[in-house]
């Protein structure tokens, strides 16, 4: 923290405590750019947006004169900032500016070194001390920093500094789980397709290695675990160095965004107050935030509350009333598409509403939403609704509402819950569950469905037959073949229809003999089944000709 803001903070501390509870004065950040062999005009706005999204920073940009022009007038006032982020790789700054920068860091200023900023100022000794590792040196510049056999190795072997293979997505491994920046991050996470900087060397004094990535020789790499994120302590100053982020698309990487946000806060204050988002990338899955926007930067006081407040209103919604709160919930859900973490939080709140004394109209609305965004997390709440009864005829049946969601939610847990509910339900509720199992083509339901063909309730028997026709796997086909000769009247027609579907499915899979056998069998049935069977046979012959 700069001297100035320290003074202000102390002076205003008492006022702030009362007037602005929970809202600290913003940290002041400065991005320096203007020359770079990289696309600084695109990446600086992205950096700014990433910092803005934390809600912690007030961000300025200092742009130097263009390459080849006089640098004499370039004198950013570093001292008034809490953190300076360098997106600069170009001509030397004036001596006065260099000295101001070194003094700023030495006296406690924060610095973030971003990607190609570590290519800059190869002959400026203090700068190289500040960045720790960079490009363009040799064994005289300092060691390579490598992670070998579970520890940091300072490798003094001779050779050049800096390089990378072709861009590819790679896994980053956290090597220091206690540092504020990396605390709470998964041990391994995927970064998007980007340059994997290798062979960096430099003074590397007071360097703390936070994360590495394996530079695979198959990707033109060194075969070493190369430093990706690290910090330097220079005087009282804190430096966070990330080698990631070649261009704007690479900066969509959730891992990049989060480590930059945390690194910048740490450089400015020595602490990290931000939470690790739930959708931080896993060891195998690359994750991006479109528009570089953390979908829930201030989650604890922001969106979650907005949704919960709306859901409180939805709880008492009844048909005929204004549906504005419902519309607003739909808006928030739409905004959350693409963020599994955000959707997960919404899902959780919605499930709470379903378990509450909310109106049937509210619960029906929620089931419509869960039908699209629900996951297996819904199973127990919705399965409980399958066995509930409506309080009157003038409201939707809870089982219909639950199935509206369950039918479209993927997962074996859903199938299992539905199969279990077959045993505990009767009448129309059971028919609905049978229909849903058929829609889901749950092959494990065949055994239960086949016994339901003999059910004394014609609706139940008919539904079981139709479900088997929709499932149409070999077991279902076999069940229908047997049922055909044991049923009569209307049910037999339904069995034949379902059996025809199985034959069509076999024909589509190229199992002509099997399909033909069924068509031949069904030729003996009365109209219109025999017509359909004849048609099936003709279609098979046409396929043969082709």
């Amino acid at each position: 923290m700069s001297q100035r803001s320290k003074v202000i903070n102390i002076a205003l501390l008492a006022v702030l405590c009362f007037a602005l509870v929970g809202e600290a004065a913003p940290l002041k950040a400065l991005i320096v750019d203007g020359q770079n062999n990289h696309n600084w005009k695109a990446t600086t706005p992205v950096m700014k947006k990433i910092l803005d999204n934390t809600g912690l920073f007030e961000v300025d940009v200092a742009t130097s004169p263009a390459r080849g022009q006089s640098m004499a007038g370039f004198k950013p006032n570093f001292a008034q900032y809490d953190v300076v982020l360098s997106n600069y790789n170009g001509a030397d700054w004036p001596k006065e500016t260099q000295d101001a920068f070194v003094e700023y860091v030495r006296s406690g200023g924060g610095v973030v070194i971003f990607h190609a900023a570590n290519n800059s100022f190869r002959k400026w000794e203090e700068y190289n001390e500040i960045i720790g590792l960079g490009w363009g040196g040799n064994e005289k510049t300092g060691p390579y920093i490598r992670w070998r056999d579970g520890k940091v190795v300072r490798d003094m072997s001779p050779g050049g500094a800096g390089g990378h293979g072709p861009q590819h997505a790679f896994q980053v491994v956290t090597r220091n789980k206690k540092h504020p920046i990396t605390r709470g991050l998964p041990e391994k996470w995927m970064h998007v397709k980007d340059e994997l900087y290798a062979k960096l060397r430099g003074p590397a004094r007071n360097l703390t290695l936070l994360a590495t990535a394996y530079a695979d020789p198959k990707q033109g790499g060194t075969g070493e675990h190369e430093p990706i994120l690290f910090t330097i302590n220079y005087g009282k100053g804190r430096v966070f160095h990330t080698v990631l982020g070649h261009d704007a698309p690479q900066m969509e990487s959730v891992g990049f965004i989060v480590t930059l946000q945390r690194g910048a806060e740490w450089a400015a204050t020595g602490k990290v107050t931000q939470k690790v988002p739930e959708d931080f990338p896993s060891a195998s899955e690359v994750r991006r935030w479109k528009d570089f926007t953390n979908p829930k930067p201030m989650i604890s006081s922001g969106k979650e509350t907005e949704m919960d407040e709306l859901l409180e209103k939805v709880k008492t919604y009844d048909w005929g009333q204004s549906r504005e709160p419902l519309t607003k919930v739909s808006d928030l859900v739409r905004k959350a598409y693409g963020s599994p973490a955000e959707l997960g939080r919404i899902e959780k709140s919605m499930l709470e509403l379903l378990r509450s004394d909310a109106t049937p109209a509210a619960k029906q609305f929620i089931c419509r939403k869960l039908s699209i965004i629900g996951t297996e997390a819904c199973v127990s709440t919705l399965a409980a609704m399958l066995t509930q009864k409506p309080a009157s005829k003038q409201e939707p049946h809870p089982a219909d509402m639950a199935r509206y969601a369950l039918e479209r939610i993927p997962g074996a847990a859903v199938d299992e819950a539905l199969r279990n509910a077959l045993r505990t339900t009767t009448g129309k509720t059971k028919v609905g569950i049978i229909n849903t199992l058929g829609q889901r083509r749950d092959s494990r339901a065949v055994r239960a469905l086949r016994s339901l063909i003999r059910d004394s309730d014609p609706l139940t028997a008919g539904a079981a037959v139709a479900a088997l026709g929709n499932i149409a796997n070999p077991q279902a086909t076999g069940a229908l073949a047997q049922a055909k000769n044991k049923t009569s009247g209307k049910l037999r027609v339904l069995v034949c229809d379902a059996y025809l579907k199985c034959a069509d499915e076999l024909a589509a899979q190229g199992k002509k003999e099997d399909a033909l056998a069924i068509y031949n069998e069904l030729m003996k049935e009365p109209k219109p089944i025999n017509i359909a069977a004849l048609r099936g046979r003709i279609n098979l012959q046409k396929k043969d000709k082709k």
């Binding site: 005929g320 009333q321 204004s322 829609q439």
Partner: protein, 432 residues
């Protein structure tokens, strides 16, 4: 969820479709021979039942009543007013009291004497009732749009093909001279290769939050709702169901079966669909209607073509279909046909050029095909592909993102949520 093997490749080429429509089936033999005075021998009449006999269905029924070769013997509606009115219209026409009126369509479908059905119901009922009609062995004149969901439409196509039924969709614009001529000009390259087509459909509206109220005498509200989620009656039912997404998709899906259908016809895209869809809809934020009032979405086809579907206020030409080619454009809507250069409008289609199905009486075409067993001018697969564009646009707008679509397999690529929207769970006991 397990995916079913696609079983319709044999239907996807025009020539094969025609052959498939005829092969293996005897000429039409009417199921019954009810006595009736007229020019057409009783034994040669098509016996028809009409399901859904409100505004559109009533109009269709009266049209069929005017055809000598048709004998309407049954009507069906869940509203007693419609039902009784339709029976009276039929009986007055035949000067007898023979027409049977049904509340439950399943009873009507059980009748063995009925050869063909005229059906006009809210969209959310289409898949169940069209499939049931085909399964009962009836030929069908069914209203557009074919179905409320893409899976529903596919199930209808499968059932119609499986049972070898003759199908005509109420997309009657294909039986109009100006639409036919426009499409033949475009198909035969009169404006060169087409790179863009704009389709303008009506703009929707909104209303207030109607209070819950008693169900009118004679309306079986629960049956009317059928597979849709149960809600209390609020004064919106006949006709205006189309502005509520439980039952329809608003002006977009109401008109997709017309002007998108025509756009496909002119381009020879009757048996495929777009591969990319992206757009934006404006939805009423309050009130009982929830279908989009304004909408605009862009479809990209694999051949490089772009189709922009929007409500008329967002289209340069307003309502209708306009194809833009290398050499000019053709614009068609009801009662209008324009082109640039204008001179192509006078050009004749030569003997060696593509001739599109020509017909000037939509209902007669259905009756002719019931007898000949040939394909109608708007067969079921074409109707499915026309409404699919509207339904794909609806899903893309609801999700608010670009979707990739495989028109062959009929699935979205890499979008699990979008794929959920291809079908809708049905209220018990209804199912496909």
């Amino acid at each position: 969820m397990a995916k079913k093997t696609i079983s319709r490749r044999q239907f996807l080429k025009g020539a094969t479709v025609a052959a498939a429509g005829v092969a293996g089936f005897p000429y039409f033999v009417p199921s019954s021979a009810l006595g009736r005075a007229g020019n057409v021998a009783a034994s040669n009449r098509i016996v028809m039942g009409c399901i859904g006999v409100g505004s559109q269905g009533g109009g269709n029924m009266r049209g069929f009543l005017g055809k000598k070769e048709v004998q309407v013997v049954a009507v069906c509606d869940v509203d007693k007013g419609h039902r009784d009115g339709a029976k009276k219209t039929v009986d007055d026409s035949y000067k007898n009291n023979d027409c049977k009126a049904y509340l439950d369509f399943r009873k009507l479908l059980e009748r063995k004497d009925i050869d063909a059905l005229s059906m006009a119901l809210p969209d959310h009922w289409h898949s169940i009732i069209y499939v049931a009609g085909a399964r009962a062995g009836k030929d069908i004149y069914g209203e557009k749009p074919l179905a409320r969901t893409i899976h529903g439409g596919r199930a209808i196509c499968d059932a119609v093909h499986r049972y070898g039924r003759v199908w005509q969709t109420g997309s009657w614009q294909r039986s109009q001279r100006n639409f036919h001529h426009a499409c033949e000009l475009v198909r035969n390259g009169r404006i060169g290769k087409v790179h863009k087509v704009e389709v303008g459909l009506p703009t929707g509206g909104s209303t207030d939050n109607k209070p819950v109220q008693p169900v009118p005498e004679g309306l079986d509200w629960d049956f009317w709702l059928g597979p849709a989620p149960w809600v209390p009656y609020r004064g919106i039912c006949h006709w205006n169901w189309r502005w509520m997404m439980d039952y329809s998709g608003g002006q977009l899906t109401d008109w997709a079966g017309h002007h998108i259908d025509i756009a496909h016809w002119g381009l020879g895209l009757d048996y495929t669909g777009p591969s990319e869809i992206e757009g934006e809809g404006v939805y009423p934020r309050d009130g009982i209607y929830d279908a989009p009032t304004a909408y605009k979405f862009t479809c990209k086809y694999d051949n490089g073509l772009t189709m922009i579907v929007a409500n008329d206020r967002q289209q340069p030409k307003g309502m209708g279909t306009i194809w833009y080619g290398e050499k000019g454009w053709v614009y068609v809507k009801r009662g209008k046909l324009e082109a640039e250069p204008e001179s192509i409008l006078d050009e004749r289609i030569g003997p060696d050029e593509i001739k599109l199905y020509e017909n000037r009486d939509h209902q007669r075409n259905f009756l002719d095909c019931v007898k000949s067993r040939k394909l109608t001018i708007t067969p079921v697969e074409i109707a499915h592909r026309s409404i699919s564009v509207g339904l794909l646009g609806e899903i893309a707008m609801l999700l608010g993102r670009k979707l990739k679509w495989n028109p062959e397999k009929e699935i979205f690529l890499n979008d699990e949520q979008a794929n959920r929207m291809l079908s809708r769970p049905m209220r018990s006991p209804w199912h496909l």
